[in-house]
Subunit: 363 residues, 2 copies
Amino acid sequence: MLCVNVELKERRYPIHIGANLLKDTTVYPLKKGDKVMIVSNPTVAEYYLPELTETLQAIGCQISKVLLPDGEKYKTLDSLNLIFTALLEENHGRDTTIIALGGGVIGDVAGYAAASYQRGIPFIQIPTTLLAQVDSSVGGKTAVNHALGKNMIGAFYQPVAVIIDSMTLNTLPKREINAGLAEVIKYGAIADADFFQWLEQHIDELVALNQSTLQTCISRCCQIKAEVVARDEKEKGERAHLNLGHTFGHAIETHLGYGNWLHGEAVAVGMMMAAVLSEKLGKLSKQEAARLEKLLARANLPTLSPDSMQAQDYLPHMLRDKKVLGGKLRLVLLETLGRAYVASDIDNQAVLEAIRTCSQPDQ
Amino acid sequence: MLCVNVELKERRYPIHIGANLLKDTTVYPLKKGDKVMIVSNPTVAEYYLPELTETLQAIGCQISKVLLPDGEKYKTLDSLNLIFTALLEENHGRDTTIIALGGGVIGDVAGYAAASYQRGIPFIQIPTTLLAQVDSSVGGKTAVNHALGKNMIGAFYQPVAVIIDSMTLNTLPKREINAGLAEVIKYGAIADADFFQWLEQHIDELVALNQSTLQTCISRCCQIKAEVVARDEKEKGERAHLNLGHTFGHAIETHLGYGNWLHGEAVAVGMMMAAVLSEKLGKLSKQEAARLEKLLARANLPTLSPDSMQAQDYLPHMLRDKKVLGGKLRLVLLETLGRAYVASDIDNQAVLEAIRTCSQPDQ
């Protein structure tokens, strides 16, 4: 079992990574008599709720549960309210711990519910998708979507523990494994040239779900993210680097309607757009952009804009991004593979050109 | 003009108290070019929005506004979402300041919107009711209601400034002035015997809206609350004292449906119930309980349970209180006039008796 500690001023919490941790009573910061509310969705619950319930029963917890409808389009205030209703109907107080069992949507909604219920109750993340394991479960960002923008409503709220059972990836659709690898590749691109190279050597093992390679990879990603978050919890500076490709990617997700493209697929294309723009601005080399494109392709990820989207469709969405200040776009770009920076005062025309370069040839 | 500073670890913010502050450009922590979103309701907006708009225009702010329907029953996730929609429709980013112009409902909803929009944007409180001026605008508790419980969804989130214009009380219905006095009396009862005595001497001037007496009174209440909040921001201990009478009061509000009794009216009765229970437990003297009853009556506040409510109607609501731990009631009670404490392990039977003592004689 691997363990990464997230070091924050007032709180410190562990991320446990290993096989079969769902069954390991020792990694749960819970004791006999504690009340828990498990938040999950029907798909994940069918695979893993019995196992988790058994472990929590062995600890001696009082267990409640609520299942939310499955998918990004249900990452809404209405789903959030289902959790509050379940908590209130069973008279849960401030001493109840919410456990999020599922992917990023479950983690984000359950985390925001924990941040908001009675103004804050404890919260444990058990991410079951690769994306959630390497990204959304670490760092305390919780949120729901608004019809006019993704993740627009939320809170910074840290869990008391994150428990990553890498065996849960065996039941994950291949397409979602690939989408998770987009965020994995992102960490190499923004922060760690050696890890990027390691990924070039091991990407096939990751696609094939080699457990030990997966654990090493997840642990390295969590470590990179935990370090960034510890240095900049509230995203005043460096933490923005984690959004490489996300401003473009969110435009794709919003334009197509949440859930048509997976988040990681949209981010993959967004990273290519950011790389091409970085190249146009004289930062990244042509060879580095090509290495990124090749690695994404080996993870079976798209690198071109969706057919149905024109370059000019991007900007209105991008201007709603949380990084926009004074109405000006701020984008995360690459100095080189392994080092990111935030660019302001970017010419919208250059952005449009980068998007066109990453569009289907007939546009 | 009076000024009370709230001292918190990472943030410190001022509460300005005086006549005609709505027109005073110097008290707003805003500068030329700043974007603001004013949140108000139609009643308050008709009186004070033009004045505030003029002041903000003089500073040079870019002004947006959104009006929420008036009343406690609209303190909901739906109203919250109206604010998010207004912010997103006008492309507001993280640099926009939300200004709450109104009573406690507006302050609580707008404050929670500020806490949640893009995970947190700046926020200024301009409370226009006595209740909001002495209580809800100080201390950073924000919330909306759930059908199953009051203030169940929210955040601890501090404003950058609170601006209290005591002239706004001239347009407030008498019944709401009285309701505000319930919280004023509470401060004397829980924390300051001298202030309680001062209130016994000045209550008629307060009821008659003497401006200078009001300002002294508001300032003293803010000071007491600010000191308590600075010592215990997240309500781990002492801050709970501010809830004297509130657990009983919330039961009344929930049972009657939000908005039938005013919050302060319910709290007045709740304080009497807490006082009677304190007396039964051998803490407060009979004379002290009588002094409290008399002061509440002089402020035209109720001291008996609503006709339509039986003693046994209280407990189910009270058991949903945020102070409940391990399914046991925890209540704020009085050692003496001027000193509160938190009691756990209270016999439900004693609670029922205290409620009956404060019920209409024919029950």
